[in-house]
Symmetry: C2
C-alpha cells in the first residue's frame, strides 16, 4: 500500500498540491486498509493521517496501515485545525465527487488561508492497474460468481418469483464466502427483462420468458459483476436471435480486449456487431466498466470513452439488447487485461439455457 | 404526496427560497415516488420537475407523481438552464449534505445570477411524523423482522459461523418479502460482540459467547432495524448481569417514550438506569434514532439531542453495554410514538435465550 501512496504523492506534485484529503470510503480502504463506514485521510508530502470516530478505534488500530490514526469523538475536521495538519499557504486537494457541499463548506470556514483544489478521479486513475494480490481477489470473486451460478441455475423454473431467485442468489453467494452484496441483484423476467435496471419483483416466471440475472460477489473487498439470461420454455424467435447476437458480441469483445486499447474502440467491437445484426437501437447502454473495490470504476467502455485500458485493468463486458414490452438479453463477464491479451475471470458458459 | 410538497413549500417560504433542489434519493422517493438510482427534483412556488436519465424513462413514467418528468441523455443539470427552470434572481435552496461539491460547482458555473442557499435537514424534518400509510409499512417491516427472528433462531448454535448466520438472516428476510437489506446485517460473537459496528466474520460460535445480531427488513421502502443478543451455552456472570441491565434499560425507555419529549430526555431514561447498574462507561453510544425510508434519520435520541419527538415519529430504542475483549449486549426495538404513548412495532421477546 505504501506504493499506492507514493503514486498519490506523484500526482499531488504534478498538480501542485501540498496535501490531499481523501474522503471516499473506497479510497480509504485502497490507501490505508480501513473497511469501516466513517473516516477521512490526509496525505502530505511526507506524512499520512487517518481520522475516524471512537466507534472504530479498535478496528482502525487493527486495519489501518501507512498512517497515524487520529480518533475523534464527533467532529472529523477538528484535528486538521487543532493539530495543524493543514497550514497556512497549503494547496489542499480534495475529491470533488466524494465530498459533500456541507463538509466542503465546514472546511472552508475552518481554513481561510489555504487554497482548495477540486480534483477528479485522482485515486480512481491510480487504482486502474491491479496488483497481483488484487488480481487474486478479483479472480476469487469471479470464481465465486461462477459457483453461485451453478447452484442457482437448478432453482430457476416456471412458477418461482423474481424475488425468490434473488434470495437464492444472495444466500448462495454468502454461503460461498461473498462478504457482502456488490449491489442488489437484478432478476427481471418476461417484459421486465427489457428494463436494464429493473429490480426484482413478485412476478412469477412463465413459459416464453427471458430472465436476466445480474449479480455480484465480493472477495477481500473486490467485486465480480456478472449477468446471464435464461429462457423459460421455448423463447420467441426474436429473443432467440437477440441472444445469439449478444453472445457473439460478448465473445468478439472478449477476443479483442488487449492493453493500450481505447474504451470507445472496445465498445465499438460489440456495437458494430450488434448493428450488423440489426440491433443498433436496442443496445442502448455502454459495453462495460472498470471493476475493483468499486463495482463501477475506471476505465469506462462506452461510445464516448477516451479512457485507455492498461495491462492489469479489470473490466466488465456486458452487451445487451432490449425490446420494450417483450423482453431483453444481457450477457456479462469480467476480464483481466493482461500484457498480451486478456483472461476471463468468470468461468460460466454463455450458451443459451432453456429451463422448464 | 402533494401534502408533502405543500409542506416543503411552506418551509421554502419561511426560508425565503424561490426554488428548492432535491438531490437525496430518499427524498426523491418521499416527494415523488421514484425508486431508481439517479434523479433530481426541482420545486418552485407553483411547479415541480423531476429529472432522470433515459435508463429510467419507463420507470419514472410509472412511478413519479406530482412532477413533470424530464429525461436527459447524460447531463442532469442541463434542463435547469435550457428550459429556464431556474431564473435570474432566484433564491435556490439545496441539500448541503446530499449534494457533492462537484455537482454544486457545476450548478454554480451554470448560474451566476442566482443565490444559492445551503439548507440542512429541510426534508428530514418534514418527514418525521409518519402518515397512516407510512405507519402501515413500518408496521409490516417490524412484523417481518419478528418473523425473520423466529426462523433464524433455531439456526443459531455452536459451530456455525457468523457469516452463516448472516446468510440465514438475509435469506429469510428476502423470502418473507423484504425488498432489500436496510443495511448489512451485523453478526458479532464472543469478544467481537463488544464491537458496536463489527461485521460478520468466519468466526464459529462457541460456548460462553454472546452473539449480537443486528439486522433490518424493508417494506415499501420503509425499514425495520432490530437487534437481539443470544447466549451460546452458559454465559459469564458479567455478561448475564449486563444483559439484565440492558433489557430493563430498553423496557424503561419503551415505557417512557411519549410525544413532546426531547431526544436527550429519552436517552437519559436508559442511560441513568445503566449508570445505576454500574455500566456508565460501557454504554458508549446513543440510545437510538428516527426510522423511515432511511434507517438513520431524525429525531436523534442521544445525550446531546435537542430534537423533539412528535406524535407519529418512529424511533429505535437500542441500549447496549460492551466490555472490550469479553463481549457485549445490545437489544433494539422500533417504537411508534402515538398521541398518548407508544407502540412497539417489533414483536420479539426480550428474554435472554441460551442456545446449545
Amino acid at each position: 500500500m505504501q506504493d499506492r501512496i507514493d503514486r498519490v504523492r506523484k500526482q499531488m506534485r504534478a498538480a501542485g498540491l501540498t496535501s490531499f484529503l481523501v474522503s471516499s470510503l473506497t479510497h480509504l480502504r485502497y490507501l490505508f486498509g480501513f473497511t469501516g463506514s466513517n473516516g477521512m485521510g490526509l496525505i502530505t508530502s511526507d506524512l499520512c493521517f487517518f481520522v475516524t470516530d471512537w466507534r472504530y478505534r479498535d478496528q482502525a488500530a487493527e486495519e489501518v496501515r501507512n498512517a497515524e490514526i487520529v480518533i475523534v469523538r464527533r467532529d472529523m475536521l477538528a484535528p486538521l485545525k487543532d493539530r495543524q495538519l493543514v497550514q497556512a499557504g497549503d494547496q489542499l486537494g480534495f475529491e470533488a465527487q466524494h465530498l459533500s457541499f456541507r463538509l466542503f463548506s465546514q472546511l472552508h470556514k475552518l481554513f481561510d488561508n489555504i487554497k482548495f483544489v477540486a480534483t477528479e478521479h485522482l485515486i480512481e486513475k491510480i487504482a486502474i492497474p491491479k496488483e497481483p494480490k488484487e488480481i487474486a481477489s478479483l479472480r476469487r470473486a469471479g470464481a465465486m460468481a461462477g459457483a453461485v451460478w451453478d447452484q442457482v441455475l437448478p432453482f430457476i423454473r416456471r412458477g418461482v418469483t423474481e424475488m425468490d431467485v434473488a434470495a437464492e442468489v444472495l444466500y448462495r453467494a454468502r454461503k460461498l464466502g461473498s462478504e457482502i452484496e456488490a449491489f442488489d441483484p437484478i432478476v427481471a423476467s418476461g417484459p421486465r427483462s427489457a428494463l436494464p435496471h429493473g429490480r426484482s419483483s413478485q412476478r412469477r416466471l412463465q413459459p416464453g420468458d427471458f430472465v436476466v440475472i445480474d449479480y455480484g460477489c465480493v472477495a477481500e473487498g473486490y467485486a465480480a459483476d456478472v449477468t446471464r439470461t435464461v429462457a423459460v420454455g421455448e423463447p420467441p424467435a426474436k429473443l432467440r436471435d437477440a441472444y445469439a447476437a449478444v453472445k457473439s458480441a460478448c465473445e468478439l469483445a472478449c477476443e479483442a480486449a488487449r492493453p493500450g486499447m481505447k474504451g470507445s474502440d472496445l465498445d465499438e467491437v460489440a456495437r458494430k456487431h450488434l448493428e450488423a445484426c440489426g440491433f443498433k437501437e436496442e443496445f442502448n447502454h455502454s459495453l462495460g466498466h472498470g471493476l475493483g473495490l468499486d463495482v463501477h470504476s475506471l476505465p469506462r467502455l462506452g461510445p464516448e470513452s477516451k479512457d485507455i485500458i492498461p495491462a492489469n485493468a479489470v473490466v466488465t463486458i456486458e452487451p445487451g439488447v432490449y425490446f420494450p414490452g417483450l423482453g431483453g438479453v444481457r450477457i456479462e463477464d469480467d476480464l483481466l487485461v493482461t500484457e498480451t491479451g486478456n483472461e476471463v475471470l468468470t468461468p460460466m458458459s454463455r450458451e443459451l439455457i432453456v429451463v422448464e
